[in-house]
């Protein structure tokens, strides 16, 4: 055994306290150091943290940013989201292949550069985009690819890549990123001017129960999409039996088309951490965890700095703002490339150093969450709303928005529109008005709430965005007349296939089946019965899946079937010759022919 390797892995495990629950940090560190988590390393980690080897493999094999096989020193991950493809990601992909002389999924012969695809990285408003190690590169073009590859080959250090700087904190030297915030519309809650500290001060001036009551009377509901009342969640967590309690912030926005949390994390981190602190006080937690998606690793240093500043100002730490016995601090847990970790119980699993499998409910996180302790998991935007509600009062909050949905909502809008970016609208805005504002003309379809939401057509453009009508976590994608909605649905199904944790049957297998039928239809081989099969399979997946992701995963199919039925009907046709249209005799014989080492004499080419 390589003694050097052993010493390095030992050191990494030691830094993490040889703690099995810190597995994510351990394997991430190993991956970063060695470009892989090799079989040999798995044995070492298992030895140092005292677990089974296969448990380490179980974690490593789950996350897209971790790998058993070696990867290059530089890993280029090109986003292949629907919006990126609409913006020309395929041409960019060809350029990368040409410049590097390799295909996707391969590493250059010298072992230095790996080229991969990755699903939505939260840059749809500046697509096509890629992540090169931790660096984000936006607005890619074939020329830019040439420059990047030439530049990288000089130093193999993505942090040295030359690029223009973005606006706001993106230009801060510790971020040093070309990402643009793209804030198109500032509303009254998140992007308005606010007084840091004042919400927390107001919270600490009253009892934790009163804080919960204020959040309840503001009728704040979760901004992640599910819309659970935040006050109630906190009440349950506070009331649950348990010595230790935790507040977790879900910074794993991965819904294709979403990027609003990116902007909050860049420009409103202070507001977010204040909301977490208020939440910690309300539920009786001393520790908070921000789960940050691996794609946003470029923001980590900035976030650490904001945390440090807050500690220096006694806004975190012991006896916060002089409040005796109110101790609270926040750590950042990095993810490693798994959409499912945005599901709250999967997020908890990941924080515990496990595969990002959702957990069985009950028990709910409020009863038994992180490491078995009562836990509140809140969305980034929700926690920012908390800060503002405590600063300005519940009465102020309910003045904006619609009756059933007070406040504002950040929408990440991209696709076929002139002004993609982040918009803070009061709840209750009509789809039609929203489209006008973003400069979308001649729109065929709008994706509301990402692929797990719904794809609507013109008949629904008078509907409103709020919890009682079109509920959304904020991912909006606009599709012009020239787009093929069935192909779009198929691409989104591909996303769910890749991102399913594989735990339950309907989500693991059913989505593959849906995609097969869609492909058949797109290839012009679909039959009218296939539409019924899509519907029935979709309903089974929706009804029987174990978590929210599975339950919503057939939505691209189900909502296009409902809203764009004619598009489907126009391309399916009854077969008249009694043959199965998808059956390919040559393909079916291929295996047998290769074994027999000769061609079939009956079915000749």
């Amino acid at each position: 055994m390589d003694e050097n390797l052993q010493a390095e892995v030992k050191q990494i495990c030691q830094v993490c306290g040889n703690d099995r629950t810190k597995m994510m940090d351990i394997v991430r560190a190993v991956q970063e150091k060695f470009g892989q988590v090799s079989s040999e390393t798995m044995n070492l980690i298992a030895k140092f943290v005292n677990c089974h080897r296969v448990e380490v493999e179980s974690v490593v094999s789950f996350y897209a940013f971790l790998s058993k096989k070696p990867k290059g020193k530089v890993v280029i991950r090109l986003c292949n989201d629907v919006v990126d493809k609409m913006a020309g990601a395929d041409v960019v992909a060809d350029a990368f292949k040409k410049e590097l002389g390799i295909d996707f999924g391969q590493t250059t012969a010298d072992g230095k550069i790996t080229l991969e695809y990755t699903p939505c990285i939260g840059m749809c408003d500046q697509a096509p985009a890629a992540i090169i190690n931790d660096e984000v590169i936006t607005y890619l073009s074939t020329d830019k690819v040439k420059e990047i590859v030439a530049d990288i080959k000089k130093h193999y250090d993505p942090s040295k890549l030359k690029h223009r700087l973005g606006d706001g904190n993106n230009a801060n030297e510790i971020v040093h990123s070309c990402v643009h915030n793209g804030i198109r519309k500032k509303g009254t809650v998140i992007f308005a001017d606010y007084k840091s500290k004042s919400g927390l001060k107001n919270a600490l001036a009253v009892s934790p129960v009163e804080v919960i009551n204020i959040v309840k009377s503001a009728r704040l509901r979760g901004r992640g999409g599910a819309g659970f009342p935040t006050g109630m969640k906190w009440q349950f967590t506070r009331a649950a039996a348990g010595e230790k309690k935790f507040i977790l912030c879900n910074g794993d926005e991965g819904e294709p088309g979403t990027f609003k949390d990116r902007v909050i994390l860049t420009e409103r981190a202070d507001m977010l951490f204040e909301g977490m602190t208020i939440g910690g006080y309300a539920i009786g937690a001393e520790a908070g965890i921000l789960y940050l998606r691996a794609e946003y690793a470029y923001l980590r240093k900035l976030l650490e700095k904001v945390l440090k500043d807050r500690r220096d100002k006694n806004l975190l730490g012991k006896n916060i703002l002089g409040k005796k016995d109110f101790n609270f601090d926040i750590i950042i847990q990095m993810g490693a490339g798994a959409y499912i970790c945005g599901e709250e119980t999967a997020l908890i699993s990941s924080c515990e150093g496990l595969r990002g499998d959702p957990k069985n409910r009950p028990p709910f996180p409020a009863q038994k969450g992180y490491l078995g302790n009562p836990t509140a998991v809140n969305n980034v935007e929700t926690l920012c709303c908390v800060t503002r509600i405590l600063e300005m009062g519940a009465g102020w909050f309910v003045e904006s928005g619609s009756k059933g949905s007070p406040g504002t909502k950040l929408l990440s809008i991209s696709g076929d529109c002139k002004l993609p970016g982040v918009y803070e609208f009061p709840f209750g805005i009509k789809v039609r008005d929203m489209l006008k504002e973003v400069g979308a003309e001649d729109t065929q379809a709008v994706l509301i709430g990402g692929p797990s939401g719904q794809i609507i057509g013109q008949n629904d453009f008078n509907r409103t965005i709020c919890y009682d009508d079109l509920a959304t976590g904020g991912a909006i994608v606009v599709f012009g007349q020239e787009r093929n909605v069935i192909k779009i649905a198929a691409e989104y199904m591909e996303f769910f296939i890749e991102e399913s944790c594989g735990y339950c049957t309907p989500c693991r297998v059913g989505n593959v089946l849906l995609k097969k039928y869609l492909d058949k239809i797109i290839a012009g081989k679909g039959e009218p019965e296939d539409l019924d099969i899509l519907k029935q399979l979709g309903e089974s997946i929706k009804t029987t899946s174990r978590c929210g992701m599975g339950q919503t995963s057939p939505n691209p199919v189900l909502t296009t079937l409902k809203n764009f039925r004619k598009n489907y009907e126009s391309i399916v046709k009854k077969t008249t010759n009694g043959m199965q249209p998808t059956f390919d005799i040559r393909k079916a014989l291929a295996d047998a022919e290769s074994i027999a080492k000769r061609q079939s004499v009956i079915f000749i080419k």
């Binding site: 693991r508 297998v509 029987t544």
Partner: protein, 235 residues
């Protein structure tokens, strides 16, 4: 001294004990809810979803959902059985199942539940995936072609045998069972007497030299459908 809880399944009044899941209470009362991954001696896994029932109209897996006073459970409905058939079909097509040659035939829970629900052949196209077979162990033969990812071996090895021989690796349709060794099953401490070697519902974990000790025709589900033992408890 456990508190009694009264609820209904398909209109039949059931008296269960606090802390029981729906499937536990139903089993005791002699009502069969189709299931695959559930095993009474192991922590419920909730992965196959075959035991999905409607609890006050909302779908829940009966193996993980605790009973509660006054709940209305729907189990034996046309719609639920349709969903269950879809799930069973999915399990068949994602693997390579060949009942007619399989040593588990007649003792296989997947096959038995399929027959009970009236499936003679899956209606969806097979995936024909390439799966691993591991025959390195002297006493146990592992065939992932027939695995339904129920997790029974994982729990049994971890929670009952205290060994951790099995674990899931990968995700999505690539998710599979792996063994706690760099290479193969022979490098683990799995023994034929382990609980983990005993709980597989299908033909994935097989004990060598035992395959046809009980002939076809005299096997568990050859004469009576799966669930008959549960239903015989019905008063």
């Amino acid at each position: 001294m456990s508190e009694q809880i009264t609820f209904t399944i398909d209109g039949i009044e059931i008296k269960g004990k606090a802390g029981q899941t729906i499937i536990e209470a139903a089993d005791e009362a002699g009502i069969y809810i189709p299931r695959l991954c559930y095993h009474p001696e192991l922590a419920p896994h909730g992965s196959c979803r075959v035991c999905t029932v409607l609890v006050n109209g909302k779908p829940q897996s009966a193996c993980t959902q605790p009973i509660a006073e006054g709940i209305t459970v729907e189990n034996n409905t046309k719609e639920l059985d349709e969903h269950r058939r879809n799930l069973i079909d999915m399990l068949f097509i994602e693997g390579n199942h060949f009942c007619m040659f399989c040593e588990k035939s007649g003792n296989c829970e997947l096959q038995a539940v399929a027959y009970r629900l009236g499936i003679l052949a899956p209606k969806y196209p097979y995936f024909f995936p390439k799966k691993d077979v591991d025959s390195t162990h002297p006493d146990i033969f592992l065939d992932l072609n027939r695995c339904i990812l129920c997790g029974r071996c994982v729990s049994a090895s971890r929670d009952i045998d205290g060994k951790g021989v099995f674990e899931f690796v990968g995700r999505s349709i690539e998710k599979k069972i792996a063994v706690n060794a760099e290479a193969s099953l022979k490098d683990t401490n799995l023994k034929q007497a382990d609980k983990a070697a005993d709980v597989c519902p299908v033909g994935t974990i097989n004990k060598k030299r035992t395959a046809f000790a009980i002939p076809i025709g005299k096997r568990l589900y050859d004469s009576k459908p799966i669930g008959s033992d549960i239903e015989s408890r019905r008063k």
